[in-house]
């Protein structure tokens, strides 16, 4: 079972809804959209030969320069039987950060999605309890977004030209 076979199978099933196939460090990576993500995950989980039955990781990313697709949700799946990993990405526009939940497929997605919501503000529709998990409830912003710099921008002793930050 090679990455090529998996990619061909996915393209045959989902067609143009999956694109941008690549293989950074041998890990099959591709992008899909939020309409198809859950059916794609379910298809891969229940596939007879692939059996991507383990959700390793679910996280988010903020790409402010990527207009129209500023936020990404990244799924890492692992087929324990075949020992193959894949990475699936879904990009969302910052005006509409809704994506269906994966908790219906894996209960473990529960906290991973809560964490992603907590830090990026991505809304997982259908999640049983989408509240903050690591930050305080009263927080009114999403700290992992790139608009919140770590250091005080008004500081003058640390100049980017010198320190290359």
């Amino acid at each position: 079972m090679t990455n090529q076979q998996i990619a061909e199978d996915i393209v045959a099933k989902f067609g143009e809804n999956t694109h941008s196939f690549e293989e950074p460090w041998g890990l099959l990576t591709f992008t899909t959209n939020r309409q198809n993500i859950i059916s794609l995950l379910e298809y891969l989980k229940k596939h007879e030969t692939f059996r991507f039955n383990f959700l390793t990781d679910l996280t988010g990313i903020h790409l402010p320069d990527n207009k129209g697709a500023e936020f990404g949700v990244i799924y890492h799946l692992h087929s324990l039987e075949n020992n193959v990993r894949i990475r699936i990405k879904v990009f969302l526009s910052q005006d509409d950060l809704h994506i269906p939940t994966a908790t219906t497929l894996w209960p473990t997605a529960n906290w991973m999605e809560r964490e992603t919501y907590d830090f990026f503000g991505i809304l997982f529709d259908g999640h049983p309890k989408l509240i903050r998990i690591l930050n305080i409830e009263e927080m009114d912003y999403f700290p992992m977004r790139k608009e919140y710099p770590l250091e005080d921008a008004t500081r003058e002793d640390k100049i980017d030209a010198l320190f290359g930050r």
Binding site: L27, D57, W106, Y148
Partner: protein, 411 residues
């Protein structure tokens, strides 16, 4: 006897000639955030029906330190100190995992000797981690003496850390591209003493105290069982998953740092209960010792760091005498070295399971995005399900055997 029964429904109440209890009253119990039995700062709000737990809800994040955010502004080598503070019971594994992630991104091949030293340190860390989990499980069930015996050995492991890297708990061990220094003769002597003499004896004694101890076994057999399927759905990894009968181990599935060179078994449990988790961890310590023995006996000669001037600090003597070394020293320390763009996922077998690093680099000096897959965070979700219907004392034991580390939970 009859008058002690609480009528469950109307017909029972009539039959027993007792008043009808409309609905059971539940007690809410706060376990934590600073309860000694939680071994860390996290809260469990338990709904109790008498002595039994009906449902539970966890609140975590009390020691959240925003590592992922901090990492976005730090040069790669400075992030090692953040990984120390995740699973602080086995920091060298986190350190090495992070170094290997960066090396994967940079395309650095680490010499065999450094890989073997890393394996030795990682397995020592695993032993230290399992010692803590298993002996504290004993303490939580009221058996204090075993804890004292094995903690002496943990102290010896910490002395080895001191010898290798100078620190004990937050080790910051190794560097991107190898180790910061070679194993000293003292360190090798200490490791040999531990692996060949003291630890096997003490561990045998520890197992004699616990494995067939009637009181201990009665307390933990069939407490908090989880099936393999359910454990997989909950994202369990590491000893907790293997106790449930699934033989998934990152060291074997995706060998890193020359793990393919070593012969070792993966202990697997059967029921996924607390006893199985205890036994799997115990057995893993023996397997770790096996790996360390092999690594020590076959420790290859050669350099202990990769010849990568851009990432590995030059020797201090050269920095004073050699212009090029001085430039590289300055550039590395100031974080002027850019990494190639790309995205990497690298996983190592941590003390608690698959510790993953998802690193996105945009070609700058610091990661664009860094996400830690923290095993404790993921499998702790299953805790309310595992302690449904058990008594509070069993709930403590289940939590103890899961080995939830607050630092790893909150990142």
């Amino acid at each position: 006897m009859e008058d002690l029964l609480i009528p469950k429904n109307t017909s029972d109440a009539l039959a027993l000639n007792r008043p009808i209890v409309e609905d059971t009253e539940f007690t809410t119990l706060n376990l934590g955030p600073t309860h000694p039995a939680t071994h860390g700062i996290f809260q469990n709000i338990l709904k109790m029906d008498g002595e039994k737990i009906v449902s539970g809800e966890q609140t975590i994040g009390y020691i959240h330190r925003a590592f992922e955010k901090i990492a976005e502004r730090r040069p790669f080598y400075q992030i090692t100190t953040l990984t120390d503070r995740m699973n602080y019971c086995s920091s060298p594994i986190n350190n090495m995992g992070w170094h290997m992630t960066v090396e994967k991104l940079l395309g650095v091949t680490v010499p065999k000797r450094a890989q073997y030293i890393r394996v030795i340190m990682m397995e020592l860390a695993r032993i230290a981690d399992h010692i803590i989990c298993n002996s504290i499980l004993g303490v939580d069930t009221g058996a204090y003496s075993g804890f004292l015996y094995v903690f002496q050995e943990r102290e010896k492991i910490y002395e080895i850390y001191e010898e290798v890297c100078g620190a004990r708990l937050t080790t910051n061990m190794g560097r991107i591209g190898g180790m910061e220094r070679d194993l000293s003769p003292t360190a090798i002597a200490k490791i040999k003493d531990l692996i060949y003499n003291s630890l096997p004896k003490v561990l045998t004694e520890f197992e004699k105290l616990f494995n067939r101890n009637r009181i201990f076994v009665d307390r933990i057999v069939n407490v908090g069982p989880i099936t393999g399927e359910r454990a997989l759905e909950y994202g369990f990894t590491g000893p907790n998953l293997r106790a449930a009968g699934v033989d998934y181990d990152v060291r074997v599935m995706e060998p890193y740092s020359s793990y393919e060179d070593f012969e070792f078994d993966i202990p697997v449990g059967h029921n996924g209960d607390t006893y199985d988790r205890f036994m799997v961890r115990n057995q893993e310590m023996w397997e770790s010792m096996k790996i360390i023995r092999q690594a020590l006996e076959n420790l290859p000669e050669g350099p202990y760091y990769a010849n990568e001037n851009h990432y590995y600090l030059p020797p201090k003597q050269d920095v004073y005498k050699n212009m090029e070394a001085l430039i590289y020293h300055f550039k590395i320390v100031m974080g002027e070295i850019d990494a190639p763009a790309g995205e990497v996922y690298h996983a190592v077998e941590g003390g608690n399971g698959e510790l993953g690093f998802y690193l996105v680099s945009d070609g700058g000096r610091a990661p664009y995005r860094l996400h830690f897959r923290r095993p404790s965070f993921i499998y702790y979700q299953a805790y309310p399900e595992m302690c449904k219907g058990v008594s509070i004392s069993d709930a403590i034991v289940i939590m103890s055997s899961l080995n939830v580390i607050a630092g790893e939970l909150d990142a």
